[in-house]
């Protein structure tokens, strides 16, 4: 179980892997996530499922190397197995025909946005997707997104591809052109989601965001993933991961995400001190 069947690098520090997990593939709905452990001493990290194939019994994960676990995953290669993958977890996205749905994906956030976009598209919505990244090389899954979007707009902070600027400016442009928008779904770095909500609040647009708080069990048992929504404490893992963006306390989320910064650095250095080469890169490797 949980064997890596395909793996590729799709950007600097960004990886995509197709993993054997038939039961999860079957049960998974857009918006849901999994929690994985790489090894027996590994931590439990949540990752949203980027795609799945029920016939082949696979799920697709996309991750950026930011900490010791994600770096370790970067060194895993085809044929290797994850110690554990638990899922699907979290409440699925509420999908119905809203009318026009605008999906805003920033950086790695495009991966979790993809199945939601696909679901919204299949439900008969007019889907406009806005994808953004710092620079062209960091854009991911644009072709997949194009297939499930009625309109696709790409922006880069440095202007190396598409619109020169932020996704929020593109969204503002849509609002300014009088585009009818019934729902906005925004997934990306916390500052981006916060900025999107600042735009949609003014325009009074319902906005769903998918949050990525630190988690441990992912079933509502520990409360590590506490977020404040509308002044109420909620658990990201079972009440979410999607919440009404207009009500989320993003500043608290950012502070909580920084809770283990010091230890994360220690863990990362520890990982670097004990390097683990991917066998694929060596002559004679698989």
């Amino acid at each position: 179980m949980f064997e890596i069947l395909e793996k590729e690098r799709i950007g600097p520090g960004v990886n995509r892997a197709v993993i054997s997990a038939p039961a999860i593939a079957e049960a998974h709905r857009p918006g849901q996530f999994i929690i994985l452990r790489t090894t027996d001493n590994g931590e439990r990290i949540p990752l949203t499922v980027a795609d799945k194939n029920v016939e082949k019994g696979t799920i697709t994960l996309v991750w950026q190397e930011v900490g010791s676990t994600t770096y370790y995953m970067g060194t895993m290669c085809v044929g290797e197995k994850f110690q554990d993958i638990c899922g699907p977890l979290g409440a699925p996205t509420h999908i119905e025909k809203f009318g026009t749905v605008v999906g805003v994906g920033g950086g790695i956030g495009v991966a979790p946005l993809y199945p939601i976009t696909k679901g919204m598209h299949d439900a008969g919505n007019n889907v406009i997707s806005i994808l953004g990244a710092r620079t062209e090389g960091l854009l991911i899954m644009t072709e997949e997104m194009r297939k499930v979007s009625d309109e696709l707009i790409i922006s880069t902070d440095d202007g190396s591809y598409g619109f020169h600027g932020f996704v929020t400016q593109v969204l503002q442009g849509l609002i300014d052109r009088g585009q009818q928008i019934d729902l906005v779904v925004a997934i990306g770095p916390v500052p981006m989601m916060k900025a999107v909500v600042n735009v949609t609040r003014k325009a009074n647009l319902p906005t769903v965001v998918s949050l990525n708080p630190i988690m441990v069990d992912g079933t509502g048992m520990c409360g590590a993933c506490r977020v404040e929504v509308g002044g109420k404490t909620m658990f990201g893992c079972v009440d979410g991961p999607e919440f009404d963006g207009l009500q989320v306390d993003f500043d608290l989320l950012m502070k909580r995400l920084a809770m283990y910064k010091g230890q994360e650095l220690i863990a990362l250095n520890n990982f670097r001190d004990t390097p683990r080469g991917c066998q694929c890169t060596f002559p004679g490797g698989a």
């Binding site: 039961a23 638990c86 441990v216 069990d217 509502g220 048992m221 409360g223």
Partner: protein, 474 residues
């Protein structure tokens, strides 16, 4: 020497034999087991204190009705393995029960030796632990004779003490059993909650392995309510019965300002990081936990003691339990309180938290407390703590562990059709049989009773087993 001692000395009364323990100063800095267990001579001496009563009241104090005088008689005869088998007839998990049962309020509270006044009761729990460990180490590892398969199959949701007990009872009756566990390791609260120094995980693993060898199937990383539902197990997978033993895992918070600051944990999270995720090995194990210098624990139960003692072992300089009543009312086992005090845990009594104070970066830096006094007894008979007007004070700390109990985790009840829950979200089930009003569904343990003890959950597993055996006419 005087010659007045002419009378033949009366046979000296054997006192209750103490169990050797690690030195408190040493053990407060390691995760090895605190209690070291009896040696053979101590066990024989302690067993000799049992009166082998004709009408043993001790058994009535045991939620799983272990044949206590019978097993103690086998100890007296030196047949430790036989004694262990005697216990296992009623309790599949004696090494665990021998360590975490509150015997002082159960079997030992009813022991006639203790009831006669001056003497302390026979140390049944310590004997149980001794023989079960002895059998695990010196036994031949043989399994009990397994009956023919009945063709029946039962699904068990949750691998905690209720689920494991039921699994053990059913497999011995020829029922095929699958246990579904949400986490990556088996044992539920036995592995995520109870610390290594009270219950080594190797022991839980060994008990689980024995069930596996008997034929119990375990599925980890399998969250019932998400990957499939109880109704799926009944309808699609055609289980003849399903038992829900998903535990009380949904931590309660005080709902006071500052509870979402960094450095504030539920006891569940803190203990899960430290135990299940092995944060004490960080960075060799990947999961970190905030290493508090000054730790405050809210609550006075066993879990609060576990959290406080774990904090010490992680290197905290000062650990304080804040409790709104007095030492008399602490709900924790006296042994745990005693251990905590020995190890250096401080108690801030008659004190109730009002607020957690944070800094700019969002970290807890202190707490604001309200001084209390004891007023009139409440419904539970305990004197109710009431605030002393105007008596507020502050205390510095960098870590806060909230250990005020758990609510029912709604994941399973909310995804199962026609399952009744009470106003606290606990599943409604017959306390004698575990049967729920929903056809073919039983439930037991904390998900039914609210947070309670390991042995009560084992008792619920046993009752459900008897009810299933009766229902299925095995």
């Amino acid at each position: 020497m005087s010659d007045q001692q002419a009378k033949p000395a009366k046979k000296p009364k054997v006192p209750r034999q103490k169990m050797p323990e690690q030195d408190p100063i040493q053990r407060a800095h390691n995760f090895y087991e605190v209690a070291l267990g009896y040696e053979n001579d101590l066990a024989l001496l302690e067993a000799s204190r049992c009166l082998n009563c004709k009408k043993p009241s001790c058994m009535k104090g045991c939620p799983v009705e272990v044949d206590i005088p019978d097993f103690v008689s086998l100890v007296k005869a030196g047949d430790m393995i036989g004694a262990a088998w005697k216990i296992k007839e009623k309790n599949s998990l004696p090494r665990i029960a021998g360590r975490v049962c509150p015997q002082e309020t159960q079997c030992e509270a009813r022991c006639v030796v203790g009831a006669k006044g001056k003497n302390e009761p026979c140390a049944i729990g310590r004997l149980e632990r001794y023989v079960a460990d002895y059998a695990a180490i010196h036994g031949d590892g043989k399994l009990p004779e397994m009956p023919k398969a009945t063709g029946l199959k039962v699904g068990i949701v949750g691998s905690g003490p209720a689920g494991l007990t039921l699994a053990g009872a059913l497999i011995k009756k020829g029922v095929a059993v699958t246990v579904f566990e949400a986490l990556h390791e088996l044992g539920g609260v036995l592995v995520y909650g109870i610390p290594e120094f009270r219950l080594p995980k190797a022991i839980v693993r060994a008990e689980v392995d024995e069930l596996r060898r008997m034929g119990v199937e375990f599925k980890t990383n399998w969250v019932i309510g998400r990957i499939e539902t109880v109704d799926d197990l009944l309808e699609k997978r055609k289980y003849d019965g399903v038992f829900i033993g998903s535990g009380a895992g949904a931590p309660l918070f005080l709902k006071i300002p500052g509870e979402n600051l960094n450095g504030v944990y539920s006891a569940n999270e803190f203990l899960t990081r430290a135990n299940l995720m092995k944060a004490y090995m960080f960075p060799q194990a990947d999961t970190p936990v905030a290493k508090g210098r000054r730790v405050v624990v809210f609550g006075g139960g066993n879990v609060a003691m576990d959290s406080a003692r774990t904090s010490l072992r992680l290197g905290a300089e000062e650990v304080t339990i804040v409790y709104r009543r007095t030492m008399e009312e602490l709900p924790a086992r006296s042994e745990e309180v005693h251990h905590a005090i020995e190890e250096g845990v401080k108690f801030e009594l008659l004190s109730s938290p009002l607020e957690i104070i944070g800094n700019e970066q969002g970290w807890a830096v202190g707490i604001k407390l309200q001084k209390m006094q004891l007023g009139e007894p409440d419904a539970s008979g305990r004197r109710r703590p009431v605030p002393i007007p105007g008596a507020f004070y502050e205390k510095e700390c960098d870590t806060v562990i909230v250990s005020i109990g758990n609510a029912a985790n709604p994941l399973v009840p909310s995804t199962t059709k026609n399952l009744e829950t009470n106003k606290w979200g606990n599943i409604v089930a017959d306390p004698e049989t575990g049967k729920t009003p929903k056809d073919r569904v039983w439930a037991g343990g904390d998900i039914v009773t609210g947070a309670a003890t390991v042995i009560l959950a084992m008792g619920a597993g046993r009752k459900a087993a008897l009810s299933m055996i009766d229902t299925f006419k095995i």
